[in-house]
Amino acid sequence: MIGRLWAIAYSTFREAVRDRVLYNLIVFALLIVGAALLVGQISIGIERLVLVNLGLTSISLFGIVIAIFIGIGLVSKEIEKRTLYTVLAARPVRRWEFIIGKFLGLVGTLTVNAFFMSAGFFAALLYLTHRFQRADADLLVAIYFILLQFVLITSLALFFSTFSSPLLSAVFAFSLFVIGTFADDMRGFAKLTEGGTKWVMTGMSYLVPNFSSLNVISQVAHSVPVPGHLVLLNTLYVLAYAVAVNCAAVLVFEKRNLK
């Protein structure tokens, strides 16, 4: 089972790499180097702030876009192109193994991608500030939270991919990302409503992925540390949510006739 999961995950990773997905790293590198040079010259006192905001936001956005655009095709493209037949039909591969393998593969791809981006980002930061400070450790927490975002969005894109066309899946996944970014506000809004609406809104606000609590970029940019228990709670949250969404994907996929 582990061997098959690994094989499917690795093949997903390899496909992304062969499809030149990691080319975005070049764009990112240019962006971050350009930013480092530019802010070093024009902004006084807030170089670090600008660079951290720009760098971490890019790492997050590049990853989210890649996660959505690969994730939405992970299953539907394989069904459409019928590449799935030779994987599932006459191999001891269970359908859930296929889903989970795909999920792990894409998360792995995004992690590798984020790793290279982060390396470039820290290099630019070092160039700008000449030495690392204590507060830079919090940047790692922010990057870790970005990875958690990738886990959420990958699971959602993959889930939609099991029953919907790539275009619709992209719309669904992106909408949930945007809504999830405002999950806090949804909860705030729910508190202001009454009766049945309140019930529905509160339920929905907890069902959508909570991206807002995973965004600490501006916080760490201002060197405000992230409390340790928040790291733990967010990790638990993302694990629970991603497992739930993956289970939903497995349930849908298990029932599907692969015509």
Binding site: G3, R4, A7, I8, S11, R14, E15, R18, D19, K81, R82, T83, Y85, T86, V87, L88, A89, A90, R91, P92, V93, R94, N257, L258, K259
Partner: protein, 357 residues
């Protein structure tokens, strides 16, 4: 006839509704000699297997892709699954492969349930018009598949190379498949079906997209897999392919099993007609008098007449100054059987005639 069947190491048992109606050429259902010593576990068993889809967006209409299929394929045989396009061949294969779920009935492969991973490791499958991850090379693809099928790491490279060599793809093993032609993909498809050395191989239209040489090679490959003792179940609408390699065939039309027969029996039938080939003179008038039609091809003449007319025809050709080359009794072809099972006058079968000729 019975002796012929007994010499084969398999037996056929057809208990489907369609099969009971089908009057198999010279062979009655259930009367085949049963040899207990040679009893082996059936490779494929289906019982009243059926699949229907609901089509249409508003008013759902029921479309029967497969109606109550009961069929047994024994271990070690090459089984041809024949039928015109849309007959339900691919649906049957997808049901057996667990890609779609049956609406009714059940099936077992190698005595196991359809979703048994242990069974799945022992079967191979070539889908119709296979398509693969085109960013991979055949070697990478087969390595991946071998891994999924549980081939141990130490054997993997050897088995991958061997199966690629077997389909004649060794030279292209390191090229990304996005540049491949349909025929090359077909070969890779066959290689992936045999890379893990399965006991039972399902091939959906294995000869399609291949040139005559390629078809010949695939036929030879099926023969050699057969000689290794593997069971092969393949669907095709090209009857000549089935005739050369199959032990038994089943004919399917409109989702229904129309008949199952042993190929050797079907084609050993003498049809009561004789073919004459000669040179020299056309003798058109004389042959026409006997009720035949003369065909000419590069100064060679050819006609088919009934057996009773043999002597008079020979005399007529000689009398006209022709030089007789051959007089051969015409054997029934699989095509005749096939068409008779589809039902004469059926529009689909007429389409089929065009396909087969």
């Amino acid at each position: 006839m019975t002796a012929l069947v007994q010499t084969r190491k398999f037996h056929a048992q057809v208990i489907s509704r369609a099969g009971q109606k089908a009057h198999l050429a010279g062979m009655k259902v259930g009367t085949i000699a049963y040899n207990h010593d040679e009893l082996t576990m059936p490779a494929i068993e289906t019982f009243a297997l059926a699949k229907h889809y609901n089509i249409g967006f508003w008013r759902k209409r029921r479309k029967d892709a497969l109606k109550s299929l009961t069929l047994t394929v024994e271990e070690g045989e090459v089984f041809g699954y024949l039928g015109p396009n849309g007959a339900g061949k691919t649906t049957t294969l997808r049901l057996l492969m667990g890609l779609v779920y049956p609406s009714a009935g059940s099936a077992r492969i190698l005595g196991k349930a359809l979703d048994d991973p242990a069974m799945k490791a022992q079967i191979g499958f070539l889908p119709e018009q296979p398509y693969f991850y085109d960013h991979l090379t055949p070697k990478e693809l087969l390595t991946y598949y071998a891994q999924l099928s549980g081939v141990p790491g130490k054997d993997r490279a050897r088995k991958v190379d061997a199966s690629l060599a077997r389909v004649g793809m060794s030279e292209s093993a390191g090229i990304q498949m996005r540049k491949f032609s349909k025929g090359m993909l077909q070969r890779v498809g066959i290689a992936q079906a045999i890379v893990h050395d399965p006991k039972l191989i399902f091939l959906d239209e294995p000869m399609s997209g291949l040139d005559p040489v390629g078809r010949r090679e695939v036929r030879d490959l099926i023969q050699s897999l057969h000689e290794e003792g593997k069971t092969i179940f393949f669907s095709t609408h090209i009857l000549s392919d089935a005739e050369t390699v199959c032990d038994r065939v089943a004919v399917l039309n409109k989702g229904e099993l129309r008949g199952v027969g042993v190929v050797a029996d079907l084609v050993s039938e003498v049809s009561g007609q004789v073919e004459f080939v000669w040179t020299g003179a056309a003798a058109t008038a004389e042959i026409a008098a006997l009720g035949g039609k003369t065909h000419e091809a590069s100064e060679t003449f050819r006609t088919i007449l009934t057996q009773e007319a043999t002597d008079r025809a020979i005399d007529a050709i000689r009398g006209a100054g022709g030089k007789l080359i051959s007089v051969t009794p015409v054997r029934a072809t699989l095509e005749d059987y096939f068409l008779s099972k589809l039902g004469a006058g059926d529009r689909d079968s007429q389409n089929m005639q065009e396909v087969t000729r």
